[in-house]
Symmetry: C2
Subunit: 357 residues, 2 copies
């Protein structure tokens, strides 16, 4: 619910809100004028500069933004962090020593124990001075918080302007890495809704792959126009030809059933045999390739995907690094950069290290 | 310490022992005359016949013998089991309902709770009537006990003379199963000492393979003259080309060390990156083949092998189903039968099932 326009090449959003008193919020953005007021009341010229420094620092490591796609640090959180720590350098010194879960007292403190109880599972807690029932850092993921801690440690040990430059895309070698890519089209949706569904689906596919025996080293998602790419790096793109099936202990009622069923299975390769107190058998797998298996699971509805992407995923294109994945993205800059950055795999804060030398 | 000879094609052992009173044993076999006396005092013509039946039944499922190679049921234990259960059929009905750990009261019972305390980890406990401090079933492994339970269940549901015939070797197809074989020569040693070392070494190799990322489906050992074969069926004979290395959480002191060391490693393929609160990196493996890796670990002393087999193992021949394992054992009947029975993988008690039809 906002208007977007451009003023002299700067993109401007106009977001309407209700004029309410604190605590009587009607829409999600009604707090904003109070946020502005709070921040303004605490600002000094030095703090203004330091907030700009922090925001540059966060952009430089891909940590800026509370969107679901980023799961990073919002503008308001940046401002409160600098105000709360009385400056950029002091903040970074503090962050370098953080260990999650982190609780930050600003004003009207509720105490660490109370905060951990009120905001369970949040890696970073900073109660909103305008509304203490709300955690300003609710959107920050553990990974992004950890990258912030790491960036601070690296910067303090060896400060450099490179930390304020957005990470470059490093062209990594394709090599013989085992990648699985799922391409699908998406409808136009507000980014946070779409990215909530993308991330949920990304994890669902990873969980299914792992459950069936694939080892998932990394997972990532990228968007290019109305197309999404889920990318997985696996230990291998094929499962072993044979699968060990564990049966019941011999003293169970159903031990003889397991034996009879197994002996009559066409895919039985060996067994049943006894090891310890249990029965085991070796079955031959019909399909062993990740792309074929994933397509089958999606068609059978055996992957926990977001409801909104179900149909899109059924029509997905599934490619591997052996079947033409690199060829498919050759012409798409967004996907290519995303793929290269996953192949390179160096966290943005760490990438600044190399650039210094 | 015994004399072996042959009398009309029957192998005869003469074992000397000391004449002592119960409880004043000097050598391990001093109990034997008392065992004989105890068993004789309880025998009836029916029990004699039933003991022969049980021994035939156990031989028919490869469960007879307390040697370390077999880890099964000794002659004396067979006799006590039949006497204690007043016959073969009653015994098998009882065994079919067993669930380990099993405690059998004969005479001078010590009670179940006391027995479990006195013989911890023993799947089957039958205190020696001649010496209650000794478990007659000490040599029985969980696997063999479970096979005994299974054989009893199968026999009771559908009795057949086939259960009294030793299991035949089934010629299994070689197929594309992933096998690793370790051949080595051994010196002449008492079988129980040698087989203690063989089993210890067999497990040591399996543990090392698993620790490094191989999935071991089955392991077995066979002897042919002065040669031993350790055989492993694996999910795959190669490890993934890349290895995920987990680093410390970012808030640990050594997080920056991990980053610097990883960045300087020649085998670094990707990373370090942050996932959750931890650092990770992807390293390229130099060797990925099971046989090459195992040879290297043995040479580096990184496999927990029996001391007595250390030198033999250094000179071992390591072959896989891809590198000539089948060719190597083609001429050796013992190894061939052992390999086929592992490929077939059907427990002897279960093998009787198929034979009936």
């Amino acid at each position: 619910p906002y208007i977007e326009g451009e003023v002299e090449a700067v993109r401007v959003n106009i977001v309407g809100c209700f004029e309410t008193g604190p605590g009587h919020w009607i829409s999600a953005v009604d707090r904003t004028p109070y946020h502005t007021e709070f921040v303004r009341s605490r600002l000094t010229p030095e703090l203004r500069r330091d907030i700009r420094l922090l925001k540059g620092f966060l952009i430089g490591s891909g940590l800026y933004g509370a969107e679901i796609r980023v799961e990073g640090i919002s503008g308001y959180l940046s401002e409160l962090l600098v105000i709360g720590h009385a400056g950029f350098t002091k903040l970074l010194r503090s962050v370098a020593g953080w260990r999650p879960p982190v609780y930050i007292e600003l004003n009207g403190s509720i105490g660490r124990a109370e905060a951990l109880k009120q905001f369970p599972n949040a890696p970073l807690i900073l109660p909103d001075p305008v509304d203490p029932a709300r955690n300003v850092a609710a959107a920050v993921s553990t990974t992004k918080l950890a990258e912030f801690i790491l960036a601070s440690k690296l910067f303090i040990r060896s400060p450099s302007v490179s930390f304020f430059k957005p990470p470059e895309v490093v062209m990594a070698e394709e090599g013989d890495r085992e990648l699985l890519g799922v391409f699908f089209k998406v409808a136009e949706l507000p980014p946070d809704i779409l990215w909530g569904e993308i991330k949920h689906t990304m994890r669902g596919v990873a969980r299914r792959l792992e459950k069936e025996g694939f080892q998932v080293y990394r997972a990532g998602a990228a968007q290019s126009g109305n197309e999404v790419l889920l990318l997985y790096e696996l230990a291998g793109l094929t499962l072993p030809r044979y699968e060990l099936r564990m049966g019941p202990p011999v003293w169970m009622e159903n031990a003889l059933d397991f034996i009879e069923k197994t002996l009559s299975r066409g895919e039985r390769a060996a067994g049943p045999w006894v090891e310890g107190e249990r029965l085991y058998a070796l079955l031959r797998r019909e399909d062993t390739e990740a792309d074929r298996l994933l397509r089958r699971w999606i068609e059978a509805g055996q992957v926990a995907v977001s409801h909104g992407l179900k149909e899109e995923l059924r029509r997905a294109e599934i490619l591997t690094s052996r079947s033409g994945l690199f060829e498919r993205i050759k012409e798409n800059k967004d996907f290519r950069e995303f793929l290269y950055s996953l192949l390179d795999g160096v966290s943005p804060p760490i990438r600044h290290l190399g650039r210094r030398s």
